[in-house]
């Protein structure tokens, strides 16, 4: 009995040498190595996502407030070289530099306290898509506000009434908080403020009319859509048909004029929202799609590998047992497999997930439930052939039992085929999950590429030209699929020598 380990060691040695041979052949296969390289990179991304990615972004994926300062529906920056790059200014930090905040305070002769914030920034080709401002304010008496934009061409655009002439514009009109007394944080997106019909009428229209433009209904409708852009436009005759941006230094001044001498106003954050975002752009909530794409690798690999591994193993053993058993047992087992095989998986999954709560694990389970018969039907026919091999009959003549024949004589011959098949069936599972998520039937708690595509579809991304939102997740799905196809084909060629020629 002490000699037992010796035989198992020899077995192990066999296996080791077999694998070494396989590895050597695999290394020679170009397709295989390409696939393996991509797979290693993908696995690296999946494993080290907490380091190379931003897990916080994924945790806050559905927390839309987290994303509010990001440009919405912005293409990736490498594809939009003329876009304005986002600048975030906080009380003591500007990043990246390139904008300047000048804060001044003074008392007017009539006892009003003026707190003025001037934001100086340079537009090279395109202006920011929005400016988000956030202030900490505290006042106990009537407070008015002045917003004006000084342009490089010397024009000054008033975006509020002048508080030094007449009643001015109250804080309420801009920030929606009480004019006479407030203590807290106020915030506004300048773009939405400017394009409000009332404000278009009161401020943009007089400015443009003073520059000699005729403003009719058509022009008003242009202004309510892209009034913010026009603030940064050259005042060409063709302004309303085609905006040409005016480069140079802009100065946006926001001044609070309060009757309360003890009032205090300070910048919490000002964001000059850019026209591009990151490496993979952003969606309509401003979410960083790059994080979504990187994070999705993990789930694609889990879904693909788990579903294909389980269905191949189950199907493989089922098929071998069926083929080996023969007769009525085989007939019944084969029919069961064929019935399941003939069920169209996607419609069934759609139906099921319309009824039950979608969960990624249930999905993987169902992909296995509907995925094994393909493998079973193939391995059954292989087993039918293999069980007639003389060496199987010879083992039977010696007295080998069913278990031994199935697992030591027939299955090992089929194993290589199953290996290749595992790799080759990964893309199917990945695509099935993506399809379901695309249709909105995916696991709502998990961010997958299919889900990103689903949101892109809901935002009509293809029609609106948000190509990054559709194309990049699509490329990722294709990449995972291709990777496994490459590996699978290489394995297939090595392990099924008949295909070699």
């Amino acid at each position: 009995m002490a000699s037992r380990p010796k035989s198992s060691r020899r077995r192990f040695e066999d296996l080791r040498r077999g694998l070494a041979n396989l590895a050597r052949e695999f290394r020679r296969s170009k397709t295989g190595m390409t696939g393996l390289t991509i797979l290693i990179i993908l696995t690296f991304i999946a494993v080290f996502f907490p380091i190379i990615g931003d897990p916080e972004a994924i945790d806050n994926w559905t927390n839309l407030e987290y994303w509010q300062d990001n440009p919405k529906k912005a293409p990736p920056c490498w594809a939009a070289s003329d876009a304005f790059r986002t600048v975030i200014i906080t009380r003591n930090n500007t990043s990246p530099t390139g904008a300047e905040l000048v804060t001044r305070e003074w008392m007017t002769p009539d006892g009003r306290k003026v707190s003025s914030f001037s934001l100086l920034f340079t537009v090279e080709k395109k202006p920011p898509t929005n400016i988000n401002v956030e202030f900490r304010v505290s006042y106990k008496k009537t407070t008015r506000i002045l917003i004006l934009l000084e342009r490089p061409d010397g024009q000054v655009v008033y975006l509020t009434k002048n508080p030094f002439e007449g009643r001015g514009t109250s804080v309420k009109d801009v920030f929606g908080v009480a004019t006479t007394k407030f203590n807290g944080t106020v915030s506004k997106q300048i773009s939405s403020y400017v394009t409000k019909p009332k404000n278009v009428e009161n401020f943009l229209r007089p400015w443009l009319e003073s520059n000699g433009y005729k403003i009719g209904t058509a022009e008003i409708s242009v202004l309510t859509k892209s009034g913010f852009d026009i603030l940064f436009a050259k005042l060409t005759p063709n302004l309303f048909n085609q905006i040409e941006y005016l480069p140079g230094r802009y100065n946006l001044t926001i001044a609070f004029v309060s009757k309360d001498p003890d009032s205090s106003f300070e910048v919490k954050k000002i964001v000059l929202v850019g026209g591009c975002f990151g490496l993979a752009g952003s969606d309509k909530y401003g979410r960083d799609l790059l994080q979504g794409l990187l994070y999705g690798v993990k789930w694609a690999l889990i879904i693909g590998l788990l579903a294909s591994l389980a269905s191949t193993l189950i199907g493989g053993v089922y098929g071998v047992v069926s083929g080996y058993a023969g007769g009525v047992v085989d007939e019944v087992m084969l029919r069961i497999a064929q019935v399941i095989y003939s069920i169209p998986v996607l419609p069934i999954l759609i139906l099921l997930f319309a009824i039950i709560k979608p969960s990624i694990w249930i999905l993987i389970g169902l992909l296995v439930v509907f995925g094994w018969p393909g493998m079973a039907i193939v391995t059954r026919s292989m087993a039918l052939q293999l069980k007639e091999e003389t060496y199987v009959e010879a083992a039977r003549a010696i007295g080998a039992g069913h278990f031994r024949l199935v697992f030591l004589y027939i299955l090992p011959q089929i194993l290589p085929y199953m290996f290749a098949s595992i790799a080759l069936s990964v893309p199917g599972a990945v695509i099935a999950e993506a399809s379901l998520s695309f249709l909105g039937l995916g696991d709502p708690t998990i961010l997958t590429w299919g889900k990103i595509l689903n949101e892109a579809q809901n935002a009509a991304a293809t029609i609106n030209g948000y190509w990054w939102w559709v194309l990049l997740p699509g490329i990722m799905i294709t990449l995972v699929g291709t990777t496994f196809i490459l590996i699978g084909q290489a394995l297939d060629t090595i392990l099924n020598p008949r295909l070699k020629r």
Partner: protein, 364 residues
């Protein structure tokens, strides 16, 4: 009783009929099931330590007969009393198999699931040495397999010793050069030696050799046959040797049974059968033996047979050989319609020699 007449195996009326899958229309019409009658009533005895040959064309049922004795094909009828070793009989009766007082056991009476102990006694060597060894196993593992399956409670050293000894016995020396090789690294002759070694390792008393040399190079055949002959002498092994090659049969067989379409048509001493064939079919086979004399190579030989072997699913009535029988045509007047209607019984034409042909009716 069996020991008295020296028979190790007595096969009586063995039938192996494979049902033909009926079509749905046939099932509905309730047509009777049809069969391929691969083996259709075969009886013979095998004496201890002899080489008993089954010869015939391919498809005559000789291989099926051999497999039936190992229960590798379903048996439709018949009995096969086998004289087993004492320990095997004990093992069988422990499993609830009825064993006769005379130490004989009916192979066909044992359920296939309880055959295992008997498989130590009866081994098989296959025609194809390329297919009969598991390509994934090394020679050592292939030879160890029977010991593992039968769980003989041997220590590792005993197992290795046994493997080495059996490899030496089949002259694969030195053994350590072979145990770690895979079958595909060996030549056909070497593989067949491994197959013989695998058959020997359980020390069987009966080996069924199914055309063991027909796929080997002619130069190697004699070596293997000689090896088998030596093992017969040394180990006291009995062979059932299946071959289509009368030249080989003449070399190795003690007695011959000539099979045609699932039946034995002639059985007797090998030398006598080949030198003086009685049955028209045997005559044809003997006439077809290649002529060793090169001077005769251009002579057109007259092989007294016509037509093709019929389908075993559709066996001719009466004597199953009559449609191809030249003697039947020649002796039409004497035989009348008999051959077409009635199956001939066995007529003993000389001591230990039976022929199933109406031509020899007068011997009965």
């Amino acid at each position: 009783m069996a020991m008295e007449n020296g028979n190790i195996l007595e096969v009586e009326g063995l039938r192996v009929w494979f049902p033909i899958r009926r079509r749905l229309s046939e099932l509905i019409a309730r047509k009777p099931p049809r069969y391929v009658r691969a083996v259709d009533g075969v009886s013979f005895n095998v004496k201890r330590n002899e080489t008993f040959c089954l010869v015939g064309e391919s498809g005559c049922g000789k291989t099926t007969t051999g497999k039936a004795l190992l229960r590798l094909v379903p048996i439709s009828g018949g009995s096969a009393y086998f004289q087993a070793r004492e320990e095997i009989l004990e093992e069988l009766s422990r499993r609830g198999i009825k064993v006769g007082d005379d130490g004989r056991v009916d192979i066909f009476g044992i359920p296939p699931s309880k055959m295992k102990p008997l498989r130590r006694e009866i081994q098989m060597i296959y025609q194809d040495p390329f297919g009969s060894l598991n390509p994934r196993y090394k020679i050592g593992a292939i030879l160890e397999e029977p010991l593992k399956i039968h769980n003989l409670h041997l220590t590792r050293d005993e197992v290795e010793d046994l493997i080495h000894r059996v490899l030496e016995e089949v002259r694969l020396t030195p053994p350590e050069d072979f145990v770690d090789r895979h079958p595909h690294q060996l030549s056909g002759g070497q593989r067949q030696r491994v197959a013989i070694a695998r058959a020997l390792i359980l020390k069987p008393s009966l080996i069924i050799a199914d055309e063991p040399v027909s796929m080997l190079d002619v130069s190697i055949r004699a070596e293997i046959l000689e090896l088998m002959g030596m093992l017969k002498e040394r180990e006291g092994i009995t062979y059932i040797f299946i071959t289509h090659d009368l030249a080989v049969a003449r070399y190795i067989c003690d007695r011959i049974a000539v099979m045609y379409l699932g039946r034995i048509v002639e059985l007797g001493d090998a030398r006598r059968v080949i030198e003086d064939p009685k049955h028209p079919y045997t005559k044809a086979l003997v006439a077809a033996i290649p002529e060793p004399d090169p001077r005769n190579r251009l002579r057109i030989r007259n092989v007294p047979i016509k037509g093709e072997i019929p389908n075993a699913a559709n066996i001719p009535p009466g004597c199953r050989f009559h449609p191809r029988c030249v003697a039947y045509d020649e002796n039409r007047e004497r035989l009348g319609e008999r051959c077409r209607v009635e199956e001939p019984p066995y007529f003993t034409v000389e001591r230990g020699r039976v022929v199933s042909c109406w031509l020899y009716e007068h011997f009965s």
